[in-house]
């Protein structure tokens, strides 16, 4: 029986166990529910938990362990000439066996009997059923595949029997515990609390997953390419064409990508910080209620638009506009209508990213500016300062640490932003300072190294993980520092 049928059966047992628990609790109470420690539903839940949790745990363990055990058993039956081969070739042999096994499970039993052990005929029969084999199977493989199928089937049956038995046994054990003085509620609540703890540990598991997965893949990369060549190399030339050919390893220099990332991020911040900050000041200090109630949501809409839309806007509207504008300007001044701004450029990507970041700066700094105590403002206004003087000399200095924190958080967004730069910044990795020329970023290269056919052994793809962990480290530092500043500042006024 397959797991997809087993699970509904277990669910039915669970429901039945719940009903049985409730029924038994009611029977014990004999109409006076005050006899019971908990309400009948808790007894039901307790029995259902006993019916389901052990059985599910067994199922998960079995599903993980049994393929490992069976594979090892089948491999141990391989003849000598195979077991002495390299690990990779053994893997190939085993892949053959497992696809053979999959094919043989499609064929009818009498058909297998008819074919017997003849590999060529077997291959033809499987091909007719739509199960292609990579090569001619050797006789030992047919044998092993048969064993594999047998063991899998046996394991399935055993798993079904064991899971059902454990489930029923659990249900009966749970039922036997039902008694008037039994503290069912406390037990059930303990189980619920455990599940809450498990859920909140997923956040930690995600972080561990990110760090571990990227570290392992990046370490594979650094065994091929020395770390200092990656971190301090000034040439990015991964040589995709020669992927896999060990003779021409590419050059993986991080510097041009990092410079592009920082340059584009800097241009974006040049747009986002003044605009966002002034909007926040205007909205918190000057704007009337009505203006605020319209303008604030409108600005926040900018944050809700997917970045791919900004990328498309940059690609089809801003880029061509800047290009045509530059050629007109050039024509007016020199008479030569050649554009000096490329359609894909640092300026295009940075500018559009800046627009995207405006709401981040404005809503974060809005919160921080409004958090500055009223008394500070009133004091300054009472001494005769104008509003702008109050803002410049009192409010902003008081809010400065928080605003710096907000800007750092925004900067980490700018560095990690992907879709805008993929579409608008270009792919040429080079070191130059002209904002009108294309440059590329870390995120663009992660995308371009990992789309298409993947082979997880070549440095061309593994480098993406090295880039990823660099990106993660940079944004993590920025965020932790920003959080630290914001928290520290908040405590001052609370």
């Amino acid at each position: 029986m397959s797991t997809s049928i087993l699970l509904p059966i277990l669910a039915v047992i669970g429901v039945a166990a719940y009903a049985a628990g409730v029924w038994r609790a009611n029977a014990i109470a004999r109409g006076a529910s005050s006899r019971l420690h908990s309400r009948p539903g808790y007894y039901g839940s307790f029995v259902a938990l006993w019916a389901l949790l052990p059985a599910l745990a067994l199922l998960v363990l079995w599903l993980i362990a049994s393929p490992l055990y069976i594979n090892a058993a089948v491999r141990s039956e391989f003849p000598e000439e195979v077991t002495t081969l390299s690990q990779a070739e053994q893997g190939l042999n085993f892949g053959m066996v497992s696809s053979l096994a999959r094919g043989m499970s499609v064929l009818a039993a009498e058909e297998i009997d008819r074919i017997g052990g003849d590999p060529a005929e077997l291959r033809a029969a499987l091909g007719a059923r739509g199960v292609p084999l990579a090569g001619e199977p050797k006789p030992f493989m047919v044998q092993a595949a048969g064993d594999l199928n047998q063991m899998t089937a046996a394991s399935r049956t055993m798993m079904t029997v064991a899971a059902l038995a454990v489930s029923l046994a659990g249900a009966f054990f749970g039922l036997s515990r039902v008694a008037p003085r039994f503290r069912a509620r406390n037990k059930v609540e303990k189980a619920v609390l455990a599940s809450l703890i498990v859920a909140s540990s997923i956040a930690i598991l995600t972080t561990i997953g990110i760090v571990l997965s990227m570290l392992t893949e990046a370490t594979h990369f650094f065994t091929r390419v020395p770390a200092w060549e990656f971190f301090f190399g000034t040439v990015w030339d991964p040589r995709f064409a020669a992927a896999g050919a060990t003779a021409s390893e590419g050059q993986f220099g991080l510097i041009p990508l990092l410079l592009g990332t920082l340059y584009i991020g800097f241009v974006a911040m040049l747009v986002a910080v003044p605009v966002g900050l002034f909007s926040a000041i205007y909205m918190s200090e000057y704007a009337s209620r009505q203006v605020r109630s319209v303008a604030k949501p409108l600005l926040e809409v900018l944050a809700g638009i997917p970045t791919i839309v900004y990328g498309f806007f940059a690609l089809t509207a801003v880029g061509p506009f800047l290009r045509d504008l530059s050629s007109q300007l050039n024509g007016l001044v020199t008479g030569n209508y050649a554009n000096f701004i490329q359609a894909q450029s640092v300026l295009t990507a940075g500018f559009v990213m800046g627009i995207m970041l405006i709401p981040y700066v404005s809503s974060l700094s809005d919160d921080i500016i409004t958090a500055v105590p009223r008394a500070l403002r009133d004091g300054s206004l009472g001494l005769g300062a104008t509003r702008s003087e109050t803002i410049k000399r009192v409010t902003l200095p008081a809010a400065l640490p928080g605003i710096v924190g907000a800007i750092l958080m925004t900067a980490s967004r700018a560095i990690g932003e992907t879709m805008i730069v993929v579409l608008a910044a270009g792919v040429a990795a080079r070191i130059q300072w002209n904002p009108f020329e294309p440059m590329t970023t870390v995120t663009v290269k992660i995308v371009s190294q990992l789309t298409g056919d993947l082979e997880f052994t070549s440095p061309q793809t593994l480098v993406a993980f090295a880039l990823g962990i660099t990106l993660f480290a940079i944004t993590l530092c920025l965020n932790i520092y920003a959080l630290y500043i914001v928290r520290k500042y908040r405590e001052q006024y609370e």
Partner: protein, 439 residues
Amino acid sequence: MTDAISSAAGLARPRPARRDIGIKRRYAAERRFRAYGIAALTFGIVFLFLLVSSVVSKGYTAFQQTMITVPVEFTEAIIDPKNERAENPQKLMTANYPLLARNAVAKVLGVAENDRTGLRDVNKMISDGVRSQLRDMVVANPALIGTTQTVSLLAAGDLDSAFKGQISLDVPEANRKVNDKQVGWMNQLAESGALAKHFNTGIFVNGNSSRPEAAGVGVALIGSFYMMLIVLVLSLPIGVAASIYLEEFAPKNRLTDLIEVNINNLAAVPSIVYGLLGLAVFINFAGLPRSASLVGGLVLTLMTLPTIIIATRAALKAVPPSIRAAALGLGASKMQTIFHHVLPLAMPGILTGTIIGLAHALGETAPLLLIGMVAFVANYPTTPLDPSTALPVQIYMWANEAERAFVERTSGAIIILLLFLIVMNVGAILLRRRFERRW
């Protein structure tokens, strides 16, 4: 006393000239400062409108598609010349259907059968999508063979663009995709009513295609739907459970602090890093299939969890302690207090946060690129394990296409995506308004 007063009056010097405290300059500075604020705000809002209007003006035409409605003769000599369809139904699948369409249009236009360049030009006016269109008709009802039916044929992408006025006819003929003869025919057909714009259902139901006129976001919509379902089913319970623990039960210790800092950081991790995580863990390590919406859903779940946890904790915090105290005072256990009283009151806030998190996940592209959802998928996925694509990824793929007609399709797809986001966000706002409570 009087002396003192008189002497004081006598000593009174002429009133000093008003001290110049630069009030004019300061007020000017005040006005300037205010103007900067207004300018900044306008800048942001103007660009919002520019962005939306740029997309809408490019994309609204994508919801119309030019069709050529002509009587098509299902000639047996073309579909099944040797009359073998009884023995070999495969014949009907491979017949030369575009020829039927070409002959039909040529007949209406009066192009002679030996005018080879003329016929070629006619052929270029019809989309290659008619092959499957006519084939499906015939396969569904083989009795059509030998009859004449009026069929609305898809016009080719270039003709579609020309008819919508997106191809400038001032460009010399050699440099444009439709020649003068085709433009003449187009006008002729339009006048007779055979060529007209119809509502484009194809963009909603079709899968991806290399021909813009036949390309649609159907598969992407299904893929996005599966992913949103997975994100909702996983991230809402896990997020709520995690927030309840952190907000109500967790003891104040270093571990709790670590989890808290962690969640705040995870909310700010670049989305592409989640893509790398998904690639390494779900595909490489766990061996789940590439391009599957299951993997996409899992990755987006991890990405959305911090947002939902932060929103849920805020909603739980907003429930006043008096509710808790009352429930506890009546003898409820802590767990009962939370699940029976606090959680229902916090639910509107939680759902608002969840919808906003889902809206973010719906528009996310970068992590999906890394787990292989950029595949060219033309068939509907039946389960979340089948290869699929997602709406934003479809937009990305079309944005990289060069043809003019694809710009229109891309903008059309963006409009669809934005409509979904608007619906979700408006839903969240309404939910908040409807259930908002002031304690």
